[in-house]
């Protein structure tokens, strides 16, 4: 069963990827078409996930929103990992004072726990898709940076790197051919786990009305639109939320699978 779970994750990711790249295959209708006479319909065979306040089909909108939502998660993770790589490499490879300074700086960032750094960033630059994506990336960066730094410190002392130094390899060669690939191995797991987390965080921000705005067919935006109707028309928030959860569970399953695999070998 445990061996099977990563494959379930991969299957779910494939489904989401199809929905992101060719949404028309799964839901041929127009996600923005309104039918005012059919508003607030409960889930049925005609409307699998029901309809929203303007009579738009929620299943169609969820499928068409996959691309944008996954893109937000992937970009936020890319921003977080990118920043973390800079800090982690500076701290792990630089002279001691640089390591000291970077580590202290990261400690200061850690004092803004959870979503706090993201909220601070949004206060400065205003709500929106782009700012909330950057905000999530920024908020996750310190955690990644700490892991990357400790990984760099381990790899730096590895015998094969010493051997490369003895062989007279240049600094850049050692960085590109030895250090980065070995750090990247652990990064891969971080990234898969991080994408799910970023989607969850970005959608939380959208739910709070700080991210993507309606009427865009994006999961977070659909959530914040459905917020007002929460108690009477639950399907408006439930199904976009379900898809957020599916994508997060899928990436987590794949990430854990990779983690256990690398631990076994």
């Amino acid at each position: 069963m445990r061996r099977l779970l990563p494959w379930i994750g991969i299957a779910a990711l494939l489904f989401l990827l199809i929905a992101a790249l060719a949404p028309g295959l799964l839901a041929p209708a127009d996600p923005l078409a309104i039918h005012p006479t059919q508003s607030f319909r409960a889930p049925s065979f005609a409307h699998l996930f029901g309809t929203d306040e303007s009579g738009r089909d929620i299943f169609t909108r969820v499928i068409h929103g996959t691309g944008a939502s996954l893109l937000i998660g992937v970009s936020a993770t890319a921003i977080g990992i990118g920043l973390a790589l800079v800090f982690g490499l500076l701290a792990g490879l630089g002279p001691r004072w640089l390591d000291f300074g970077t580590t202290r700086f990261l400690e200061v960032l850690f004092a803004f726990p959870g979503l706090l750094l993201a909220l601070l960033f949004i206060v400065v630059y205003g709500p929106g898709v782009v700012t909330s994506t950057i905000a999530v990336g920024l908020a996750t960066a310190p955690g990644y940076a700490r892991i990357i730094r400790s990984r760099v410190l381990v790899v730096r002392r590895a015998p094969y790197l010493e051997a490369a130094t003895v062989l007279g390899r240049s600094w850049w060669f050692r960085l590109w051919r030895h250090l980065l690939p070995n750090v990247a191995g652990s990064l891969f797991v971080l990234v898969t786990l991080g994408i799910g987390q970023s989607i969850v965080w970005a959608s939380s921000l959208s739910y709070l009305g700080l991210g993507a705005v309606p009427p865009a067919a994006e999961w977070g935006a659909m959530l914040s639109a459905g917020r007002t109707y929460l108690t009477s028309f639950w399907w408006m928030t439930f199904f976009p939320g379900l898809f957020i959860m599916i994508s997060a569970v899928a990436t987590t399953l794949v990430g854990r699978g990779l983690q256990e695999r690398s631990r076994d070998s």
């Binding site: 706090l116 928030t237 439930f238 957020i244 987590t252």
Partner: protein, 324 residues
């Protein structure tokens, strides 16, 4: 069997506590200063005139004289460096300024809302720890079913957004069964759903960490030694393995604090519960800079407090740390 006496102040371990505590205190002071500085200059990056935010946001029709007055009132007419020094001075005196939107001292707003959030966070933490403990104990003894349940909860914990859990709990327990109110009413009944929303994901993480270290401890020499001394399996579990498992769980405290605060923003909004998280959110939405700053600083202070207490607890629980 009592705890080792060396753990308590007043014994021989006192000497090593003093320099450690001073170093810690210096670190806390540094981080707080840096947090205050970072937030001060970050806030200056906001495009637009702060006086406009004071007088009712963008597009306010206030007169030029009112703008000038607001600038003088809030000290915005001074050079940036002077404003920074004044800000640090006020910080030291515990003054956090006046909220733009609510026109009340920030410290009063924070004081009003702190209690609700603290209650929510502490109860959630206790519930989460209880669930995690039960799960960890079960999976340390039981076989595949227990570890399967633990694993599932852990994945779910990582993947479920707080708001979605809250919505699902509302749909299940208040819309369908009608057991608990969908909005947080005063009293213990209104606390149940918000606490569950915060505690369930947290317990997944805690249980995972505790399970691994309990299994680790059960296989270690000190457990073997305890068994050889003739201690029963219950005693071995509660006194030795659990204590070992507490170490990484305590290490998660800072992270758990952040997760609880972020969760509180969402949970307090959904359940319409007064608290620090909800004031932070409305301050962010209205760009009420002094209030955001105040809440951020209080949370940072709380975080530093939690991590410092964590270190103290670590040294109390793990005798190996005191030696070094």
């Amino acid at each position: 069997m009592a705890l080792p006496v060396g753990a308590l102040p007043g014994s021989g371990a006192r000497r090593s506590w003093v320099p450690w505590a001073l170093l810690r205190l210096g670190g806390v002071a540094f981080v707080l200063w840096a947090v205050a500085t970072v937030t001060f200059f970050a806030i200056r990056l906001i495009p637009g005139d702060p006086a406009e935010a004071i007088l009712g946001g963008p597009g306010s029709q206030a007169s030029a004289a009112a703008f000038a007055q607001a600038r003088v009132d809030y000290g915005l007419d001074q050079p940036l460096f002077v404003q920074y020094l004044q800000y640090l001075g006020r910080m030291l005196r515990g003054e956090l300024g006046t909220s733009y939107a609510l026109k009340q001292p920030v410290i009063a707003i924070v004081g009003e809302n702190l209690g609700g959030t603290l209650l929510l966070a502490v109860v959630s933490l206790i519930v989460a720890a209880a669930i995690a403990l039960a799960l960890a104990a079960w999976s340390a003894r039981g076989g595949r079913v227990a570890s399967g349940v633990g694993w599932l909860l852990e994945v779910v914990a990582a993947a479920i957004p707080h708001f979605w859990l809250a919505i699902s709990l509302i749909l299940l327990f208040s819309t369908t069964f009608g057991w608990f109110p969908p909005v947080s009413v005063p009293g213990p009944l209104g606390l149940v759903l918000p606490v569950l929303t915060l505690a369930l994901p947290l317990s997944g993480f805690l249980a995972q960490v505790m399970r691994e270290s309990i299994l680790d401890a059960m296989a270690s020499p000190f457990v073997l030694a305890a068994r050889a001394r003739g201690e029963g399996s219950g005693g071995v579990f509660w006194r030795h393995a659990l204590r070992h498992a507490a170490i990484p769980a305590i290490g998660l405290a800072g992270w758990a604090f952040g997760s609880l605060i972020s969760g509180a923003v969402v949970v307090e909004t959904i359940f319409a519960r007064p608290g620090l998280g909800r004031s932070l959110l409305s301050a962010v939405q209205q760009r009420d800079v002094p209030l955001v700053l105040g809440v951020v600083l209080v949370v940072a202070l709380g975080y530093m407090l939690v991590t410092t207490l964590t270190d103290v607890a670590d040294r109390l629980v793990d005798p190996r740390l005191r030696a070094s």
